[in-house]
Symmetry: C2
Subunit: 328 residues, 2 copies
């Protein structure tokens, strides 16, 4: 029997649950433990039989972890956990604070090297699969423009921003790409698009007792950074409707490279995702890349990596010869 890749999960929210479910879809992997900062007894996993332990105790289980999937958030968890855990384990994470990726990479790289581990950062779909498509687009068609559109999808950050507005009891926000803008890009026109032309924003808000709807709407649509540069629609709904119609986490988007090859021919490359569950899909990407981390570590590599550094064949449980025969 071939030995399975032993995966552990650090952090058990939506991403941790998705990771547990994704591991179960990959017969060459097994989940050896879930590590949490909560009371382990309070954590209910999908498969009740998996060991749940406190994150503080993880070093005791080093011998049963080939790759640790970091399922914490980019804002508060990963800046600290990423380097700390990469010093002790091979890791893969979905760090997505774009502006701080260079610093995060350096911190994780130093830690991973010191511990002799491989740490793959910023894996998922954006950053991740979308990043790869931005790269392929500009390398294959150096003369051209790259467009990224997001949605239609629930934005966690924007939903949180709406919830912080006084008078809002609960809310969700969807980012909606402009079909018209996408069609222009697909046509090969290479338009210059403003922020407002690329996406609209739709909010579904449950008002707090006694709150003034118009005041809340105004506070949302004028909010700098988050909404002021967009056409934003605010819909007021009941708590019951919010729960019934807006509890899923769909997302997706498009990366389009529109360019011309050396002879002036127009060439358009389009990549798109339509996701019923954003965290479940991100988890699926993390788990496929965990396989690559395992292999790089076995090959003696150390240090931080991104999806740009990973040969795609390393993601597959199949042999290079099989991949050439069946997929090339």
């Amino acid at each position: 029997m071939i030995e399975k890749i032993r995966i552990a999960i650090a952090g058990y929210g939506n991403l941790g649950r998705g990771t547990e479910a994704a591991i179960a879809q990959n017969p060459d992997m097994e989940l050896t433990g879930v590590y949490t900062r909560r009371d382990p007894a309070s954590v209910q996993t999908l498969n009740g039989s998996v060991a749940v332990r406190h994150l503080d105790d993880i070093d005791q289980y080093k011998n049963e972890i080939d790759v640790l999937v970091l399922c914490g958030g980019s804002k508060n968890d990963l800046p600290e956990q990423g380097p700390a855990l990469a010093a002790r384990f091979n890791t893969v994470d979905s760090y997505d604070t774009h502006a701080r990726i260079p610093q995060y990479f350096d911190a994780v790289d130093a830690a991973a090297r010191s511990g002799g581990n491989v740490a793959l950062i910023s894996v998922g779909w954006d950053p991740g699969l979308f990043s790869l498509n931005r790269l392929f687009g500009e390398t294959v068609l150096p003369k051209g423009d790259t467009y990224t559109f997001w949605g239609k999808g629930l934005s966690q950050g924007h939903s949180d921003a709406v919830r912080r507005v006084p008078g809002v009891k609960a809310a969700v926000q969807y980012t909606v790409p402009s079909i018209d803008a996408i069609e222009q890009v697909r046509s090969g026109l290479r338009p210059t698009l403003t922020t407002r032309q690329k996406h609209t924003r739709e909010c579904f808000v449950v008002l707090a007792e006694g709150a003034d709807a118009e005041q809340v709407r105004e506070a949302i649509v004028t909010m700098p950074d988050y909404f002021a540069d967009y056409d934003t629609t605010v819909n007021f709904i009941s708590e019951e409707t919010l729960r019934r119609e807006h509890s899923a986490m769909p997302h997706g988007g498009f990366v389009i490279r529109s360019g011309e090859s050396g002879d002036g021919d127009k060439q358009v490359i389009e990549y798109s995702l339509t996701l019923e569950s954003n965290p479940a899909f991100t988890s699926s990407v993390l788990v496929a890349y965990a396989r690559a981390v395992y292999r790089l570590s076995r090959a003696g590599e150390t240090g931080a990596r991104t999806v740009f550094d990973i040969a795609p064949g390393l993601l597959s449980p199949r042999s290079p010869a099989e991949l050439r025969r069946d997929l090339l």
Copy 2:
């Protein structure tokens, strides 16, 4: 000044011309020679100043070739040229006879190892970018189905088959994907599609003097392997119309992975190409991958490779730190 990557071209048809044009779009590369089996004096390149030499003399110019782009055909040229040239040069080619890729890989691999070279085979869009998307699809969503649709595009092989029918003076054939089938796949239904349901075929035929149209049509639509399993339309046109409306070489297609993540959520990944010129785009992909070949060779690697083995970052002239900052 940074030294440029010195590229040479073996074979100067549509692909060779496209490769010359693509190299001109990449400032870190220079074209040092075009090698042909024809009389070099008869070959007119896009940039008249590039050296055109006979392929038999190529070994004399070994010192000015970092990577040789093989622009011959898969049927008659590459089975012999691929291994022969990989023994003497770093190479990249677009070998696309799917069924024979394993044997071709082995032959090129042995030759490249013996010569201490890197040889990257089957690069382009299919095989190539489409292959990568089939791989990403099944590794990220192991539970699911992958669908490849081609077109709308000119098929060289099918056009040749039509031209061989008695009574046909000239012809082109377009492969047309079924929009209805694509929509079913996009919806997440995961339909089982027959050959006939996925694509239709459209022929534009110039009849030879005195040929019987109905007889020609019947011979085309019943041709085994090529047309019998498809719904095929045959349009008879004048030579003038053929030249005016059907001399471009558009192509493209779709790779769609429809699957579900571990918790049962439907997730759809779609990759599509809309190409005004099939050979020009293939050349653009070859040239981007030539950069990766150069780097692997400089790093001391030898042997045959496919796109599955190439870390995407190697395609870019930009540094890993820049890629992380700007594209991740």
